[in-house]
């Protein structure tokens, strides 16, 4: 058995501590600098040569033993284990680095950087949020040990209770505490809904124009995805639904079509329910911003109209409170609650409890309704202002905007590349979205989807001339 000298180890004795010694030895063993089976210098020798304490050397060597690089030889010190496979040492580290392990992409667009911008659809006016109050509620719960452990798989019960009260009253929902699943946002609710009603390869439908991130969720679930036109003022057109089909589910936004703003009237809703019943197709009602209807109370939900049968109802607090809260919900028929929760557990596990407890109080103590009333007035004014300014300065364009919601769409006839236009706007800090991004059927129309939540006068007076000049240039 060869005994190495300390010099052969190529260690820098000056100030070398446990960690450096360990790493250096490990790296040298792995790089096959010495043959397997060789004995290291004794602890004492190493300590003396490297000017280290005996215990530092011992610690490093014992760590290497624990990890299987060295084995102690009774009375003889430490040996480099001779069961390390030789071909590992022989392996060219470059070939290890240039392998072609494959990853899936599901047609999703990779995304590593993003930032919020002005007039971005999906943003809310967080400046108006009562943070002090929220913080007070948060403090009330933040040292509750019970909120640190494992949760009820459907979500924090007091929140479910408060939410069900609210949804019954404001959306005429048919549901109770045991048929609602608290989710980490609406996106999760939509993905759970998709997995609940369809397996990979099965057919589902969604609206076009529609919500790109719903499309991404359905692609990720590997579903066979079809599209139904939904651009009119009445939203999705039920006459275009396939009469006999194997469609497992239809995802839609009946209360305020996204992004075209259509509101589905009762007759269409009833025709749709009839179709769904006849074809045994689930309806997934995405109720993403029904709280912000400015002329009337929100239209009663499809779910309520159907008596809770055959409809899953998804909502979130991203629009009503703030996006980073990441809380949403999925209302399901009672017999599916267990399955929905099992899917969430497999996908994600429990949802964080502290924000659920804070939100339960925020709703239960009336702050939520108060905040909604305030924001409804606020956003209504914002929206009116944006619509009238756009109509005034771009009379040739069609504005798709009803008295609802936090966004609007402006179609721009003759514009060739709305994505390029948005990129230009982005340079100036505006994050409007190209309408073509929402269109999944045929040749899309071009235009802009504009968030109105943060549309104050200063921003608008900057946007309008900018947009005018960009449109002239792109002409």
């Amino acid at each position: 058995m060869q005994r190495l000298s300390t010099d052969a180890l190529n260690l820098d004795g000056q100030g070398e501590l446990y960690k450096q010694l360990y790493l250096s030895l490990r790296q040298q063993i792995l790089s096959a600098r010495w043959s397997t089976g060789a004995l290291l210098p004794s602890e004492r020798q190493l300590a003396a040569d490297l000017n280290l304490s005996r215990s530092t050397v011992q610690q490093a060597l014992q760590q290497l033993v624990a990890e299987g690089y060295l084995q102690p030889q009774q009375g003889r010190g430490y040996q480099i284990v001779n069961t390390l496979p030789d071909n590992f040492f022989a392996a060219d580290t470059k070939s290890l680095h240039s392998s072609n392990w494959q990853a899936q992409d599901y047609g999703l667009t990779a995304k590593t950087m993003s930032h919020s911008g002005r007039l971005q659809p999906g943003l809310t006016q967080v400046q108006q949020f009562p943070f002090q109050l929220w913080q007070k509620l948060q403090q009330r719960h933040s040292n509750r040990v019970a909120l640190c452990g494992m949760a009820d798989p459907l979500g924090y019960l007091p929140l479910r209770h408060a939410l069900v009260q609210y949804l019954r009253q404001s959306r005429q929902l048919v549901c109770d505490e045991n048929a609602i699943l608290i989710t980490a946002g609406a996106q999760q609710a939509l993905f759970i809904a998709a997995k609940l009603v369809a397996c990979s390869g099965q057919q589902v439908l969604m609206e076009s124009p529609g919500y790109p991130r719903l499309k991404h969720a359905l692609q990720l679930a590997e579903l066979n995805l079809g599209f139904i036109p939904a651009a009119g003022t009445n939203g999705l057109n039920p006459d275009l639904l396939p009469p006999n089909s194997d469609v497992k589910a239809l995802f839609l936004t009946p209360s305020h079509q996204y992004p075209c703003g259509g509101i589905m009237p009762l007759t269409e809703r009833l025709r749709l329910l009839n179709w769904a019943q006849a074809t045994q197709c689930w309806l997934i009602e995405d109720d993403y911003d029904s709280e912000f209807q400015y002329l009337h109370r929100p239209i009663a939900s499809l779910q309520g109209l159907a008596g809770g049968k055959g409809v899953l109802f998804a909502g979130s607090f991203s629009k009503t409170l703030f996006p980073a809260l990441r809380l949403g919900y999925l209302v399901v028929p009672p017999e599916l609650a267990g399955k929905a929760s099992a899917i969430q557990q497999a996908l994600h596990g429990d949802v964080a409890l502290l924000p659920q407890a804070v939100l339960a109080d925020f709703i239960g103590e009336g702050h939520f309704n108060r905040h909604l009333r305030k924001m409804r007035r606020y956003y209504q004014q914002q929206k009116q202002q944006v619509v009238s300014l756009l109509q005034q300065h771009f009379p040739q364009n069609r504005i798709l905007a009803q008295a609802a919601g936090l966004h609007l769409t402006m179609l721009i006839p003759g514009l060739k590349d709305d994505a390029a236009l948005c990129q230009q706007l982005n340079f100036h800090g505006f994050k409007l979205q190209p309408f073509s991004r929402y269109c999944f059927l045929n040749e899309p129309e071009r235009g802009l989807v504009i968030g109105i939540a943060d549309a104050d006068e200063g921003r608008l007076s900057q946007l309008i001339p900018l947009l005018q000049s960009l449109l002239t240039k792109l002409d």
Copy 2:
């Protein structure tokens, strides 16, 4: 056009308010009490007959117009819309309620109620957590408007920065801020990893015995799932891996096999890396509790050993801090960061920002390492105590426990039904898990998986005689 009388409307005038009026009228229209096309009494008439203010009546009727139940007839009042499909009214409401829409179950166990119990695997000792400090850090961030909007899709940058420092140092990971994805817990990290490397129907492998919730995630992803024995003290046995195969990924817990406690030595790790490279199979390293190794520093990660290539590394803060925090991470090769983030966005969207900001400070300011050192000592004592008590009172049983982790496994030869035993224990507030639940190959051995985090003397002195008497009864 028929004009209805107020009496025909069947309304209770006493104290009827807007909401009741609206709901009652809507329900009656839907139940086809009156023919479509009929005119309602005039606003004035209704107000007088029901003893309501004119504006209350108006509000209810306008809401019904907005929802498409009524249409105003110039000068004649409100008409029940005659485009409501007749068959909707004719539909037997019972048939609507007894439909057979199908839901998927993926072999997942439905779950609507759960509670934490004593000695439950996966729990931590939350009493030891520095809540006051956490709360102080939370307050520091809780009114930051920037934390309410949309996030960087990889996660909050200061947290990624702090985490990468920590992982490089403690786990010898090869990674940087742009190749780590903050997730809402380890379960999400595992699901994202599965979707990143395999499509539905493709083959992946996991350990048996292994983590049931990982199995659930892979079932939900509709993967073709195989199992590799991993019960030995060295964890997964690489000799049992298929030499030539189409396996896309192998999920494993090399640092502390779950739940058998094996620790994979270096030789096995190197053989495994060679196999993975030869078969182009991804390794998904689930590093769920490596922070709690009591005799040595944690063994360096597979990911680090492989120079960051071909290995995805998942971890969480559920064990080190507390389960309901719901933060974890997935380290990926840099070229896959965008895809991993796109999958997370489709699945879930951003992760809540406030806890990320708090955690970033907790790690960055040294509290995390301090807490780990304290808990390592604490849990080590707990574990020693549990092991020696069990060995003393159940000498015939085999204890699978190394000097690591927050759980141990006791095999009970001759026991027929460990699930029934756990149910009995559950009646007494103990939530031990049946070992057979973790076994996915052949005829499982029977036993108990026991969490040690909350195993104080009181609980143990209650558990031991209870277990003795139950085992005698079940004999």
